[in-house]
Amino acid sequence: MKLATVKEILNAEVVTGEQYLNNEVKSAFGCDLMSDVLAFIKEETVLLTGLANPQVIRTAEMIDVYAIVFVRGKRPSRQIVEMAEQRNITLMTTDYILYTACGKLYEKGLRGVNVKGDVVDD
């Protein structure tokens, strides 16, 4: 799914990285635990999280995640936005809660990662 479609489905605002909206993600992962993000994301995945701190960007950098959606209307600070810009990461923010945001993407065909990190078809 293109990031532009993710943006549309979640009625999200792009905070930075508008130029990468044509990039595709194969799966999504919704989580506030960064160690689990490190353990389970294995491929082109959009991360949905309610955490908005520098560690989220660091975590994304370690595993080459290039798209993050902040849920529950969370807004990243200037420092976080700058960190994302330097790493070519797209940041979006949506007013939906994590559950609703994940549900909306799933409904439109974007699957989650399983605990082995592979995309699950159903």
């Binding site: 960064m34 160690s35 660091r58 975590t59």
Partner: protein, 148 residues
């Protein structure tokens, strides 16, 4: 950075409680491995292992350092801190066990997955801790290890 007999040695200090900078060392290590053309699945293992180690030092210790040695066939990571040491290493290795405070949990860490994640990324893993002294974690990642 020093280069002796085909090995590259990197060393980074990690400060206690410095959460705005925690992750900088791992970020630099990842960049260097990418520049060296190390295969991405290995770089990923090293990035996760060093980042978890770096967060552990920042969260739980009085400060410490991460040493990375890049050899032609393997990468050695040594994370060592200045204390206070782990009471029960076996317990600390259990998934889900954590002594982290709520403040740490708000950062998205402290779920008790750090050491297990580090072990999972390593081909060889060893941890030695002495109460009142400090903790030393040894990790070896082979350059031909499979993706995790």
């Amino acid at each position: 950075m020093t280069n002796k007999s085909n090995a590259i040695n990197l060393e980074f200090n990690v400060m206690k409680d410095d959460f705005s900078r925690a992750g900088e060392a791992s970020s630099k290590i990842k960049k260097i491995l990418t520049q060296l053309g190390i295969v991405s699945s290995v770089t990923r293992r090293v990035a996760i292992a060093t980042y978890e180690a770096e967060m552990n030092i920042a969260i739980h210790s009085l400060g410490g350092k991460i040493e990375v040695t890049i050899n032609p066939n393997e990468i050695i990571i040594i994370a060592v801190d200045n204390g206070p040491g782990i009471e029960d290493v076996k317990l600390a290795m259990q998934e889900g066990y954590s002594t982290a405070t709520n403040k740490i949990r708000e950062l998205g860490f402290g779920a008790g997955m750090g050491l297990p994640n580090m072990k999972k990324c390593s081909d060889e893993f060893d941890i030695v801790s002495k109460k009142g002294k400090g903790t030393k974690v040894f990790m070896r990642i082979s350059l031909d290890s499979k993706p995790v």
